[in-house]
């Protein structure tokens, strides 16, 4: 029971931690961890979501947040934009130059991230400055563990191409 509480505490402290991350940080054997996680999921104390090739574990009550995060990091460009914004607020032009993406593509992705509430936009003079509006540690943890499949990589390229062609409406 103590072990289970330890697992639950870590998941609450680090929402979006992966199975591997949990095993590594707690130094628990895989079988043992699987057993306790199954129990915790059954009790409804935690839930998991598969993103890319990894399964992320979230505490109860994090359902809506988890959904937002999953959508936010679902494409490569969004992940790169989020990682870039961790260094500080930037304008659309600066993001576009730093990542080598077209301005319409950046505009589409920052728009989506803004809708999700993960970033905020603030008008400064003639340009709009974007900054992170979410716990950077959680975002960094989820992005670093993210392993997209080949198909997702191809789909991400298609999204960037299509968002660069039109306005996406």
């Amino acid at each position: 029971m103590e072990r289970r509480n330890e697992i639950l505490n870590l998941i609450t402290k680090k929402p979006g931690i992966t199975f591997r991350g949990l095993a590594r940080e707690l130094g628990i054997g895989i079988g043992d961890l699987q057993y306790h996680l199954r129990k915790l999921e059954k009790e409804g104390a935690v839930f998991s979501r598969k993103i890319g090739k990894r399964r992320y574990i979230f505490p109860k009550g994090f359902e809506e947040e988890a959904q937002r995060l999953i959508i936010a990091i679902s494409t490569e460009s969004r992940r790169r934009i989020l990682l870039l914004l961790m260094n500080g607020p930037l304008s659309q032009k600066e993001i576009s130059e730093a990542l080598g993406l077209s301005q319409p593509t950046v505009s589409y992705h920052v728009g989506e991230l803004q809708k999700l509430g993960i970033i905020t936009a603030e008008g400064r003079g003639r340009s709009v400055i974007y900054s992170l509006n979410y716990d950077p540690e959680t975002i960094a943890r989820i992005i670093m563990e993210y392993r997209p499949s080949v198909w997702e990589g191809l789909a991400d390229s298609l999204i960037d191409f299509l968002s660069g062609v039109g306005d996406g409406e």
Binding site: E112, L154, A155, I159, D167, G168, E169
Partner: protein, 86 residues
């Protein structure tokens, strides 16, 4: 023994299905309408190739020229629609 024509048609059919799959993932992730157009376009291309394949292997005796032509037109129109700058 399969003729080269059949092998190529099978390859095109598989590739169109793969591209339809990629478009589907892209649409699911982004809800971009052009991705949906591409999904339908690649599915139509797969259907078109399927019909051609059936004719090549003589499982269809009827003339399917009109059906194939129609599918080609719709495929190209959907492609243009996906790339249309709005």
């Amino acid at each position: 023994m399969m003729s080269m024509e059949v092998v190529l048609a099978l390859f095109v059919l598989m590739l169109s299905l793969v591209l339809a799959g990629v478009s589907f993932i892209a649409y699911k992730k982004s809800h971009l309408r052009p991705a949906l157009y591409l999904l339908v376009a690649f599915l139509l291309l797969a259907i078109k190739k399927g019909v051609e394949l059936l004719q090549l292997t003589q499982r269809i005796e009827k003339d399917v020229g009109l059906v194939i032509g129609g599918l080609e037109v719709i495929f190209l129109l959907l492609f243009v629609l996906a790339l249309w700058r709005r």
